[in-house]
Amino acid sequence: MGFTRRDLLTFTGGSAAGLLLTPVPWSLLRDTAVLSENWPGVPQPSHGEIRTRYTTCMLCPAGCGVRARCVGDRPVSLAGVPGHPASRGVLCPTGLVGHHLAFCRDRAAEPLANGKPVAIERALAAVSAAIAACGPRDSVAILDPRPGRAASLVYRRFLAGLPKAVHCAPSDSQPYGPFGIDLENTRAILSFGAPVLDGWLSPGRVLANRSHLQLIQVEPAYSRTASLADLWVPVLPGGQETFPAAVARALKGEDADASATEVARILLRNKPAIAIGGGAAVAKLNAVLASVGRPGGFLPRRDFTLATDIAAVPDGSIRVLLIEEAAGANPLPWDLLRRKLVPQNPVVVALTPWLDGCAQHADYVIPAPMYLESLDEAPTPAGSTVASFSLSPALLTAPPKLTQPAEFVLRLAHDSATYPEILKQRVAAIEKDRRGALFTYADGKSKRVRDIASAGDLWKAMLGGAVWLDDPLLSPRGADPLVCAGPPGPALPTPQYPLILIPADTPPQHGSPLMSKLYRESGLRRSANAATVHPETGRDHALTDGCRAVVKSPTGAFPVQVIFDPAVMPGVIEMAGQGLSPASIRRA
C-alpha cells in the first residue's frame, strides 16, 4: 500500500483543520499583538529621575502657582500648588497642558520681515529707523497685554524718551481699574454676562468662595456659568444695559419688573453684594449697592499702572506699533488696530510666540519665547485686592533665535540691561519696601518680607517658586469711583438682519493639542461653525436641524451647520467666536 497524492492532501487538510482546534493559532495571534505593542510606530515615554519643580502660570492674568512633575529636566505634567493664595491649588484645563504649547506647529521660530527670515539685528535697525523717521504728528505705540509688569516699566521708559508715544493696553486688560474684588467676604454676585464659573479672575479663588456666594447670572444665553448659577435671568441681547438700572430702581424701593425685583430681594438678603460685567450702568448699580471701597466689595490696591485703552487712541495716529502678544491670549482684533495706524506706510512689529494673529499683519515678527521657555514674571492677578508679584522660571529649553519682548525694547532703547536684571530690580524694590509676605510653593508657608535677609535671598526664593503678596491698604474708603469697561452696545434687528447673533463659547485660539478632548473628541463644546437656534426660529427661516446654512452679519458671512435647540432664546443665533451683532440666516 503506497502513499498517494490523495493521502498527502487529506493529511495536510486534516492537519490544518485540526490545528485550528488547538490553542496554537490563538496563541500566535496574541503573541503578534504583544510583539506589535512595542513596534517603533508607537512612541514610548522616556525615563529618568523624577523631580518636582515650581513655577507660575503665565497663560492668563490669574497667575496660578504651578507644580511640575519633571523627568530629568522636562515637565511631564503640571498641577496646582495647594494653598496658593490666588489659585488655591487649582489649574484650569489650559494651564494643565501649558507645557505642550512649545510643541504647537504654528509658533514663530525666527525673526521675519514681511514674511521672510531676517537677522534680529537688521530687524532692530529697521524698526529704529522707522521710529526715527516719525513725523511730529506720528506716534509710536506699544500695545502691552498686561500693564503693571516690570516689562511695562521698560516700555514706559523707552516711550518716555520719544517725542510722541503712547503706552496702550487692550480694552479688557484692566476691567476694574485700580480695584480688586473682595470675593472672600462677598455674599452675592450679580453678573451681567461675565463667565464667573468659566475662567473669570482666578478660577481657583472663585470656586473656593462659591459655597458662600449667591450667584445671579444675567445673560441671554444659557451659558455654563448660567447653568451652575443660583439664578439665571434671561434677558434680550443688549438687555444687560437696561436691567442694571431696573435692579437699581428695585433696590431703592421704586417700581421695577418682577425679575428685577426678585434679583434686588436676593441682593438685599445677601449683603455685601457686587455687580460685575462692565458698563456705566453696572458701575452705577455698584454705587447703589455701596460696594466700592468696602469689605465684600471692590477694594483698591497699590500697584495699579494706568495704560491708555487702545480703543481711546485717536484713529490714524500711530506710525510705529509694537504689539506684544501673550502666549495664551486670543489674538487682538486687527480691524481695531488697523484703524489706529496712519494710512501711509505704518510699521507694525509683532513681538509674539505665534505665527497667526497679529503676526499675519505685521511687517516684522520677532519670535518670543513660549510659556515655560524663559524666565518671566506674573504681575498682580485680575481681581486681586492686594498687589502681588511672582517669577515664572523656565522649565523648558528655548530654541535659538527667540527674543523676549522686553529685551527687544531694551535693545531699541540702547539700554545694556537685560530682562532678568530688570526683574531683579523689581525684586530688590519689594525687599526694600519690606511690606507684605512671601508664600513659597514647596512648603506652602508664608514669611514676612522684613524677615528675609537680603534681596538676593528673596530673588533666590522666588526662583524656586514663590509669590509675594502686598499688605492690604489700611483705609480703603475714599477710593476713586469705580469705572467698568463697557460692553458692546445693544444690537437691534433690522429688516436686512432680522435676528441677533450672540457669542457662544469660543474655542481658544492657542492651546495644547490635547484640548481636542474638549472641542472635537467629546463634543462637549461646540465647534466654531455650529450655529444654534430655537426650532421655531429655524422653521421661520426654512431651516432644518443639521442643515447647512449661511449666517450674514455686518462683519461678513459664515458657512455654518444649524443645530436646533429649544434652550436657545427665540430670535437669536448662538455662535462661537462671534460678537454681538444683528444677523440673518438662510439655508445654503
Binding site: 514610548q44 511631564v76 497642558v97 493639542p513 472635537r520 434652550a567
Partner: protein
C-alpha cells in the same frame, strides 16, 4: 478630561477623529431637562468606566481575558497586551465607556518627550478605558511598601481627575470602609447609580438634588432627559447627575 489624557498618555485627536472615534476615558456630557427656553436647565455629567462589580459585562464577553476585576480594589482593569481588538467589550458596556484605538498614538514632534513615564502607550487595534489611574495606585503601593506598610492611607492615592477637578466635585475613596466620606455620601439620599437596574453593581455614585436629573438615570429612555445640542442622541445609556459628586471604590 485633559488631566486624564495627560496622566494616561492618551494622544490628541487625529485629523480624521470624531466624537465617536476619539479617545476620552472620562467624557463630560451636558444634559438638559428638555424644557424650552426659558425653563430649560442643564447639568454636566462625567461618564467614565463605572467599574461594575457584579457580572461585569466587559469581562464576561472578553475572549482573551484582557479584562480583569481586581478583587482587592474592585477596579476593572484592561490589559492592552492581551487585547485582540474584537470590541465585544465595547458592545457589552452599557455606559459606552470603552474606546478603541483606530490609529497608532501620535503626538506632535517633540511632545512625546512629555509623556508620563509611568504609563505605557497603547497601539492601534486595542481597547482602552478608565482604570482609576492604575499607575498612581502602583506608585502609592510602592511608597507604602518602602515605608513598611501594606495599607494605603486615605487620600494617598487619587486619580488625576480627582486631583485636577477645580470644583472638588469628585470624591474618591474606599466604599468598603463605612467611615470613609465616599461611603457616607453613597449612603445618603442624594446619591444614585446610573442604570442600577441592570444589576452590574457600578461603583460610581452620582449626587443631585434635582429630580429630573435623577429620573434620567432610572428611566433612561423617558422624557426629561436630553443631551443638548451636538450631544443629542449620544447617550443611549441614560445619563444623569448634577451635583457631580462621584464616590468611587478604591
Amino acid at each position: 478630561m485633559i488631566a486624564c489624557a495627560v496622566e494616561n498618555n492618551v494622544p490628541p485627536a487625529r485629523p480624521e477623529a470624531t466624537p465617536r472615534t476619539g479617545i476620552t476615558w472620562m467624557r463630560v456630557y451636558q444634559i438638559s431637562n428638555g424644557a424650552p427656553f426659558p425653563e430649560n436647565r442643564a447639568a454636566f455629567i462625567p461618564i467614565l468606566c463605572q467599574q461594575c462589580g457584579k457580572d461585569t459585562p466587559c469581562a464576561a464577553v472578553c475572549p482573551q481575558e484582557a479584562v480583569e476585576v481586581d478583587p482587592a480594589t474592585g477596579i476593572v482593569d484592561q490589559m492592552p497586551q492581551r487585547c485582540l481588538g474584537c470590541r465585544y467589550c465595547m458592545a457589552a458596556c452599557p455606559y459606552h465607556a470603552r474606546y478603541f484605538n483606530w490609529w497608532d498614538p501620535q503626538w506632535p514632534p517633540g511632545m512625546e518627550k512629555t509623556l508620563n513615564p509611568d504609563v505605557a502607550t497603547r497601539m492601534r487595534g486595542v481597547v482602552e478605558k478608565c482604570n482609576f489611574c492604575h499607575g498612581r495606585l502602583h506608585a502609592a503601593r510602592a511608597r507604602a511598601a518602602a515605608e513598611g506598610r501594606r495599607e494605603l492611607h486615605p487620600g494617598e492615592y487619587v486619580p488625576a481627575c480627582v486631583e485636577a477637578c477645580p470644583a472638588a466635585a469628585i470624591v474618591f475613596g474606599d466604599l468598603d470602609d463605612p467611615a470613609s466620606e465616599v461611603a457616607r455620601l453613597a449612603r445618603d439620599g442624594q446619591s444614585f447609580r446610573i442604570l442600577e437596574r441592570l444589576g452590574t453593581a457600578p461603583k460610581i455614585y452620582y449626587r443631585t438634588t434635582r429630580p429630573w436629573v435623577r429620573s434620567g438615570a432610572t428611566n433612561p429612555c423617558g422624557a426629561g432627559n436630553f443631551a443638548r445640542g451636538p450631544l443629542r442622541g449620544r447617550l443611549s445609556g441614560g445619563p444623569s447627575g448634577s451635583g457631580q459628586k462621584e464616590p468611587a471604590h478604591a
